[in-house]
């Protein structure tokens, strides 16, 4: 008689279509699985797939490999491009020859993109195919190199790591949500210095992937948005072996300001949510340590960019004013008063200090824990404040060198670590 756990697992796997299962049966066991979630990526996907194929042929020619492409309803021919690119297309430029069949499966999972469904599909395929090592690649990058395949897979294949996160050469103002919130807070909470805890390019062992697939994040809603961050947190709290690998230049992808709230939902949401269940893993951590890293843990580009500071400040001030009622529920009177004070400053005098930012974030986290109001409203309310903090970061580093920028980020990290007792105090208080 099958165990309850087996029955549940089988039930869970029914989200895979029969057609997809049939294709998986044809692939059979693999050594390497490359996940490539897409949604209307026709402009870039061809080059990405070619880089992946070249990477597999160049670095893992003997391994059984498959590319799994969960697609969220592309209408621009993305899926056809993914499956249409043959290894033979590579030969004229790379002179590479495949020893064995390299499979590529594209499977549609709905009419709108969902990173959760996409990752879950990849994880389920990896488990069913008993993949030893898996990576997920972004379909958007025009800088993807075949060596990235090796850099993400090799630590798993040869060194036994369970999670490989990337580090990049980024513009100093790219990835502000990571540098100003995710990296320093996760570092302070869990004690591990993972530069890119939320990423669309990463590697994981088949064993860890299968374990994460059984995780209840898919059912309790926390994994519904931002499963990539949940995966990183699961690796940290599960004491998996984690390392970083320097890939190269990361494309800057322009986002609309309206994209900030969904981005917070995908990152801060799962991070705050995980705090409840992982308290034993972070409550007693008092310092942070580096993790094994291949190559530099970051590189900074300094090209001048235009930033609409005025708009950022307006959005911050308007948010502080309009959401005052919400902030009364979330923030301490002292913090709120300070935010209201800086909201009234002229642009040239505006400064959202590191200490105030860290207190703000910690108070949000504690309020999220206590569900003082709807948790989603808490996440949404953070958006205007993050814009204010981002403005200060931009101003502080406008003329800064790479070292200056890194010093400022490090200073913020240390502030998160220094004020962690404040989070614990807020976390445990009955207010």
């Amino acid at each position: 008689m099958p165990s309850v756990r087996t029955e549940i697992k089988l039930a869970e796997e029914t989200f895979l279509t029969d057609d997809f299962l049939r294709q998986l049966i044809n692939v059979g066991e693999v050594d390497i699985l490359v996940g490539l979630p897409t949604h209307n990526n026709a402009k870039t996907i061809g080059a990405v797939v070619q880089s992946i194929q070249t990477g597999i042929l160049r670095w893992f020619p003997r391994d059984r490999a498959v590319i799994i492409n969960p697609d969220g309803g592309s209408r621009d021919g993305t899926r056809e491009l993914v499956t249409g690119i043959s290894i033979d297309d590579l030969r004229p430029v790379s002179n590479l020859h495949a020893l064995r069949t390299l499979h590529c499966i594209s499977t549609p999972y709905g009419s709108s993109p969902s990173s959760a469904v996409a990752l879950r599909t990849i994880l389920a395929a990896a488990e069913l195919l008993r993949a030893k090592a898996c990576i997920v690649m972004s379909p958007e990058s025009s800088h993807t190199e075949d060596a990235w395949i090796s850099k993400l897979l090799q630590p798993i294949r040869t060194d036994g790591f369970d999670l490989v996160t990337p580090t990049y050469r980024r513009h100093k103002f790219d990835g502000l949500l990571i540098t100003n919130l995710l990296y320093p807070m996760i570092r302070a909470l869990y004690g591990l210095r993972i530069r890119e805890p939320y990423t669309h390019e990463f590697g994981f062992s088949g064993r860890f992937g299968a374990e994460f697939l059984l995780n209840n994040v898919w059912d309790d809603g926390t994994g519904a948005s931002g499963p990539e961050l949940s995966l990183t947190l699961a690796a940290i709290t599960g004491r998996q072996r984690i390392c970083q690998s320097f890939l190269g230049q990361k494309d800057h992808i322009e986002r609309r300001s309206a994209d900030l709230v969904p981005a917070l939902r995908e990152t801060v949401g799962p991070m705050f949510s995980a705090l409840d269940s992982t308290f034993p893993a972070w409550g007693a951590v008092t310092a942070s340590q580096a993790i094994p890293t291949t190559g530099p843990d970051h590189e900074v580009l300094l090209d001048p960019v235009r930033v609409n500071r005025k708009r950022l400040r307006e959005m911050f001030s308007t948010g502080v004013a309009e959401l005052e009622g919400v902030f009364h529920s979330i923030l301490s009177p002292t913090t709120l008063a300070e935010l209201q004070r800086i909201a009234g400053l002229e642009e040239a005098e505006f400064h959202y200090s590191s200490e105030l930012w860290v207190r703000t974030v910690y108070e949000f986290a504690a309020s999220y824990h206590k569900s003082v109001i709807s948790r989603d409203h808490i996440i949404q309310a953070l958006a205007p404040l993050f814009r204010g903090r981002a403005l200060t970061f931009l101003m502080e580093n406008r003329n800064g060198s790479a070292a200056d920028v890194e010093n400022n980020i490090e200073g913020l990290c240390l502030e998160f670590e220094r004020l962690k007792p404040y989070l614990l105090q807020k976390w445990k208080s009955r207010e």
């Binding site: 692939v27 059979g28 020619p61 064995r100 069949t101």
Partner: protein
């Protein structure tokens, strides 16, 4: 049993490769001989083969297992007399078995009288029968074949104080085919044996007959002209006889050896063989389908010759560097198993004595387009001895029984031409003909049945091939067709059970009859035909419209 009189007999043949020395010793001197082989023809007939290919049996110093011939028109005294050979030939024909013999055209032994005369003086009439030079700088673009032993294709002869050309060992000087007298003499040699009744020649090392400056001295048009001339004479004077080319080349370079059906009847498909092993290890049909796709069409009267193993190393000349590395790492991790560009192992040890894989590989051998050749001893799963030098480890005495000297010879064991395989897994007490004949489920019995099934239809030997391309790449499936007859072969290259959906719409309405057990499988309809196969399992189905 009369011989099949069809001039295309070689298309339906199943050839058994054997060296007289290795098979059975009739006079107790420790060396196999013609009377011994004749005594064992009944065994071969029962096995189901209908042709034997005899390796060189000519007088020779035996520094290259007889491929260094010292006299072409008689037999080595250790194997018997010319009359013994005649008797063997007659007995084989009476059993419906044709006899193909080896003919080494490219070179002789340095002990051959022709070479002795040639080297004796620059003015000797036979001086120009070999390729001489005052310098070793000629033909620089020519590769060295035996890399492990030879540093140059030229060897210095201290007697005539000149260099002579040799593509193989330095004790095997190449004949000079630019000399008409040599061409005439070699045809005389072939005629000698054809008049005696041999059914064909396996012509050794044919790409190298002629040398030209500025080329790689392989596959030259002048070489093809020599070969076409031999074929013309053969057809005129001995119709129904066959020429089989040994040309270890890529398919595109092999194709000219068939010419317009007026050069060779058959040629070994060298590149396919390592890829069958590769496909099995990779559990992927790609290497096999890829090389067969690159294989050009050949004239209707011509035929590929397929083999799994033979007396040489498993040659890896016709693979890429990456493929060679893979083959070495997976099939010859122990470096003593490697020789030249190849692996000196027998079939069973290569496949780790896995009966399922041995059967699958034989199934492929007998169902892919071409005439299969079975190397002696592989039908019982004989092992090898990698501690013997060169390729002698795969040329040990045939294991007939678990008794004295494996039933091969009554001589004292230390007088045998080579030691018997003694290890617990492959040694003659464990692997021998007698015990396998006593078991219906032995490999030998299985081979007999499969050969019988293959011989039950001409479709395997003469039919076309159409590859099916199921999405499951571990499955190699193809339909062989000849006239109204069609056979579907489905092979699972994987060590795990597989499901496969085959697109058989073209054969809608046919039922499948499994050819070994004759069981009927469901009728083909519009939907993909679902089959499940166990690890390394294969099926041959006759497609019947009833």
């Amino acid at each position: 049993m009369p011989l099949n009189q069809d001039v295309l007999w070689y298309k339906d043949a199943i050839i058994y490769q054997v060296h007289v020395r290795t098979f059975f010793d009739s006079n107790g001197d420790g060396i196999g001989d013609f009377p011994g082989l004749e005594q064992k023809l009944g065994y071969l007939q029962e096995l189901g083969i209908n042709a034997i290919w005899l390796m060189p049996f000519f007088p020779s110093p035996l520094r290259d297992d007889g491929y260094d011939i010292a006299e072409y028109t008689t037999v080595h005294s250790a194997y018997g007399t010319l009359d013994d050979f005649r008797k063997l030939l007659e007995s084989a024909h009476n059993r419906g078995i044709r006899v193909i013999i080896e003919m080494v055209l490219n070179h002789t032994s340095d002990q051959h009288p022709w070479f002795q005369e040639s080297r004796s003086s620059r003015h000797n009439p036979r001086r120009d029968w070999y390729v001489w030079s005052d310098t070793d700088e000629r033909y620089k673009g020519t590769r060295i074949i035996f890399l492990d032993t030879e540093k140059s294709n030229w060897a210095w002869d201290p007697i005539s104080k000149a260099y002579y050309w040799h593509r193989f060992f330095s004790h095997q000087p190449d004949l000079n085919y630019d000399n008409p007298a040599v061409r005439e003499q070699m045809w005389k040699v072939m005629s000698f044996w054809l008049e005696m009744g041999v059914d064909g020649f396996r012509l050794d090392a044919v790409p190298y007959l002629v040398e030209r400056e500025g080329t790689n001295c392989e596959n030259l048009p002048e070489t093809h002209e020599v070969l076409k001339d031999l074929r013309r004479r053969l057809d005129e004077q001995f119709p129904g006889r066959m020429l089989l080319a040994e040309a270890n080349q890529w398919p595109a370079d092999l194709r000219p050896y068939f010419a317009d059906g007026n050069e060779f009847h058959m040629a070994f498909h060298f590149p396919l063989m390592p890829r069958m092993f590769m496909g099995l290890k990779l559990e992927d049909r790609k290497p096999i389908t890829e090389i067969l796709q690159q294989t050009p069409e050949i004239p209707p009267s011509c035929q590929w010759s397929l083999f799994l193993r033979n007396h040489d190393e498993l040659t890896l000349e016709m693979v890429t560097d990456m493929e060679r590395d893979y083959m070495y790492d997976t099939y010859a991790e122990n470096k003593t198993m490697r020789l030249n560009l190849g692996i000196r192992r027998r079939l069973a040890p290569l496949l780790e004595n896995d009966r399922r894989r041995i059967e699958l590989m034989n199934g492929l051998l007998m169902s892919l387009p071409g005439t299969p050749i079975v190397y002696y001893g592989d039908e019982i799963g004989m092992g090898d001895n990698i501690n013997l030098g060169d390729r002698n480890g795969v040329r040990t005495p045939m294991q007939w029984s678990g008794g004295w000297n494996a039933g091969f010879s009554t001589a004292e064991p230390d007088r045998l031409y080579a030691p018997l395989i003694q290890n617990p897994v492959y040694g003659y007490p464990a692997v021998n003909v007698l015990s396998q004949l006593g078991s219906e489920h032995s490999l030998l019995r299985w081979m007999q049945r499969m050969i019988m099934v293959r011989a039950s239809t001409a479709v395997f030997g003469r039919g076309s091939i159409e590859f099916l391309r199921p999405a499951n790449h571990r499955i190699l499936a193809y339909v062989r067709r000849l006239g109204k007859e069609a056979v579907l072969a489905v092979n699972n290259l994987s060590g795990a059970a597989q499901a496969v959906e085959l697109d058989l719409k073209k054969y809608k309405g046919n039922i499948l009859i499994e050819m070994s057990g004759k069981n009927i499988f469901p009728r083909v309809g519009e939907q993909p035909y679902l089959l499940t196969l166990g690890p390394y399992q294969f099926f041959w189905f006759r497609l019947r419209r009833i």
